[in-house]
Structures are given as C-alpha cells and as structure tokens.
C-alpha cells in the first residue's frame, strides 16, 4: 500500500484511513457530512498526492495529444487553459478521464487518476513512437486541492510571492506556474478553488499553513459526495473500459469537429452514434427516504431499464441522489429496487448542486 507524504499528518488529525486505488487515504476525519458542508460553505482541503501529474513535452506534443485524447487540445489557445477529456481504447471504451493543461504547444501537463496511473502511462508510452514527444510522470510533485467559496482567499497568501498575482487573476479552468509551483483554478467539488501542485517536500508545510487559516481537512468520503452533487463522473463507477463516453454523459467531451483528426476510439464512437439507441446517462433523485447505492436496478413499469452507476446521500439537499445509465426509451419517472422494494425515483439533469446552491427542484 502506497502512502502520501501526508499519511502521518492525517493520522494525527484523527483520520480513518482506507485503501483506495493502491493508496492508503483518509476517508474522513470524524464527520464526512461536516467536511462536505465546510467545502460548500467555507473552505476545505484534500490530499490528492495519490493522483499522478504527467508532463507531455516535445515538438509534437500537440499532435500526440490530438491522437491520444477524445477531446481536442487544439481548442486550447491561451497558455494555462485546461481541458477535460477521456482517453479511449480502440473500441471506444474509457481508459481514464483526465485534465490536460496547455502551457505552450510543446508542454502539456496531464493529471490522471491514481488507480489507473500505471496502465495510463503504459498506454501513453506505447503510442509516443511516431511523435517527437516525451511522457514523463512527475512523481516528485504532490498535490493539494483547496475548495470552497473562501478557498482562494485563504490559499492566495500562502503561494510563492512571484506566483500570487498571476494566480489571483486566474480565470476558472486555467493554471499558472512559476516553474516550481503550479496552481490551477480547477477542482472536483462544484465549488471555486485551486488545485496546487508543488514539490513533495513542501506539501506538509502548505497543509499546516492552510490548517492555520482554518481550511478544513476533508477525506475521500466528502470528495465523493461533493463530486456526485456536482454531477461529475467517477472513473471506475460511472465509466470504465467497457463503456462509451457517449453512454456516460461525456458526449460533450468528444470533439468530432475536425474530420481530419483521427483520435484513438473515433471510429468506434462514430459507429455507435450511427447505430443509435445509445443508453442515456441521467441524474436521479429518490422521492422518499432512503439511500441510492451503486448497482441498484432501475425499472420503468415492470421493465428493467438500467442501473445506478454511482449513488449516495446528498448532504446539501438532504436527499438521496444518483447517476445512472438507462435505456434510450426509459421514461422520466422510474422505480429503484432497494432491498426487494420498488421506490419512485425521478430523472433530473445534473448537476444537483453548484456553488452551494441546489440546481434541481425537490
């Protein structure tokens, strides 16, 4: 089991540690729900050192990524701009979902999931051959996500002086770097904030200084309920190598506009689209009391129409919510089977919550 540089600090803060993607990570530090609310109302921080930063550098970094990713990095013109994309296999299944920051045409920074890191790197390495490009995992870097309505004002004074102005002026989904630290206005919670990448031996100091500024440590539990409320997919639950992004609510990340761009998986996705009847990815709200869980079956009348891909309890809404994959012709009012009983669920369009506010009618 791998440990991040903050492992002992989490234990000292009273964290309950759990295995996650080969890493031992904090699930919560006492109350997952209070951590969740801290991010929605004030500021919270997450140890995301288990995720892997990968630098893609070289004269042909851009054509390489245009071949590798389903979204088109050619969309990224301004330095620092970020792009969310899937990396697909030839069958159109999702190998991983990732964020790519465009620093210049010869340097892109990619952040991939922890559990998929080794397979991602192998896949990328194997496809560099025709390109003048280098794929380098930056295991020397750690990452802390600071999220919430007050996250930026709390984090800004702690950044290196030379980076502060550039960071204060960052637009959402952009990053700035001083060559040492790398700060992005991105996240996985539906709130404003930063993801800060920095040398591993400086991570603990930043964590302590954020603690001093009353940024609340949050575990993977709150990270999951926050991203679910924000309607963001979780790799391994909502999609994996066996499903298409077109059936995972990720059609918006597949860029087919440039007909000349032959990205891996393109032909499979075009065939799927031509065949039609793709399953729909939808949000669900449980009408009554209870909790929606992964893999619960969904019914339209008597017919089974799909299942929940990730479900849980929304602390902000006080209701059970879920993401689900259902048949193309499934109706808006469905039933979920929980312990042998069918309970009514209503389809809604995610996100459920953004910037502290409910986005759906209850």
């Amino acid at each position: 089991m791998q440990k991040t540089v903050l492992n002992q600090i989490h234990r000292n803060l009273g964290a309950r540690m759990v295995p996650f993607g080969g890493w031992e990570m904090p699930i919560h530090y006492g109350s997952q729900i209070e951590e969740h609310h801290a991010v929605r109302r004030d500021a919270g921080m997450f140890d995301v050192c288990h995720m892997t930063v990968v630098d893609v550098r070289g004269r042909e970094a851009k054509p390489f990524l245009r071949r590798l990713l389903a979204n088109d990095v050619a969309r990224l013109e301004k330095p620092g701009k970020a792009l969310y994309s899937c990396m697909l296999n030839e069958e159109g299944g999702v190998i991983d979902d990732l964020i790519t920051y465009h620093m210049d045409d010869t340097w892109y920074r990619v952040v991939v999931n922890a559990a998929t890191t080794e397979k991602d790197l192998a896949w990328m390495e194997k496809r560099t051959a025709p390109f003048e490009v280098e794929v380098r995992p930056r295991r020397d870097l750690g990452m802390i996500a600071v999220q919430g309505p007050h996250a930026r004002e709390k984090a800004l004074p702690l950044l290196p002086e030379g980076l502060r102005d550039a960071t204060a002026g960052l637009e959402p989904f952009h990053a700035a770097t001083d060559g040492h630290w790398f700060v992005a206005r991105t996240g996985y919670t539906g709130e404003d904030g930063f993801e800060i990448m920095l040398p591993e031996d400086e991570v603990a100091d930043l964590w302590y200084r954020l603690l001093e500024r009353e940024v609340r440590p949050c575990g993977l539990g709150a990270r999951d309920t926050l991203r679910l409320e924000a309607g963001m997919n979780l790799y391994g639950s909502d999609m994996d190598e066996t499903v298409s992004p077109l059936e995972s609510g990720l059609g918006w990340t597949v860029d087919l506009r440039d007909g000349q761009r032959d990205f891996i998986g393109r032909r499979a996705l075009e065939a799927q689209r031509a065949a039609g009847d793709l399953r729909r990815f939808t949000g669900l709200v449980l009408e009554g009391k209870g909790v929606l869980r992964n893999h619960l079956k969904l019914y339209d009348g008597g017919r089974e129409v799909g299942e929940i891909t990730s479900g849980g309890f929304s602390p902000t809404l006080g209701r059970a919510i879920a993401l689900a994959r259902v048949a193309a012709d499934a109706g808006d009012d469905l039933a979920v089977e929980i312990r042998g009983r069918r309970l009514p669920v209503r389809r809604v369009k995610p996100p459920f919550v953004r910037h502290g506010k409910a986005c759906i009618e209850l």
Binding site: I27, S31, Q32, I33, G221, V291, A320, R339
Partner: protein, 129 residues
Amino acid sequence: MSEIPDELKYTRSHEWVRDEGDGIVAVGITDHAQELLGDLVFVELPEVGTELSAGGECAVVESVKAASDVYSPLDGEVAEVNETLADSPEAINEAPYENWIFRMRPSDPSQLDELLDAEAYAKVVEEEE
C-alpha cells in the same frame, strides 16, 4: 476508543440491549458500530408487532458510506419503534446509547443472560481493530 457502558448487554453484531423492566428491552447500535459506519443518513425501522427471531434482520441503518443490517438480539415481538430517527438518524452518531432503534417484548427473557456483557463485548471490538 469507543464507549461501552457496563450496565448494558451486547451482541457480536454490535447491537446493545437495555432491560427496561416490565418485560421490555430497548435495542440500539453501539458506539463502535456508529463509528465504523460514519454519518448516518437513514434508518429503516421495523413495524410494531413484527415477530422477531434472535439473529434475524429487523432494521437497517444507512450511513453516507454503506447500508448495514440491525439484527434482533432476542426472540420476541417489536413493541415500539423510535420514530424520531426517521428525521434525525444522526442522533445515533451523537448519542448511540440514548437513541434506541426499537423496543421489543422478548418471548423468553432468560435469553438476555446469554448476551455479551460489557467486558466480553470489549474483547469483540478489540479483535476487530
């Protein structure tokens, strides 16, 4: 360390049992159980009058993390359920021994003596940790 009051009886499946007199016992989940589950968000209560058998599933507590069955500690019948938990399941996290889930009328009160005492239950918890 989780709290294990001396005056209660316990099961290996982490229920606590309190003799309320008049042939009634109260049943809840232990401090250790609530700690393992994390924040509770839903409690599915049994119906009053339901026949229970010792070791049988009779209620469900759901946390942000997982759903977990509550097992009847004894044979008997559900006498009363704690309706306040329907709106405030988190009360179990805050005070697990004050917030019973249901009260039951055991058909054979001598079964109470077969349950674990605090010391024996502490060993069960220790083995799990």
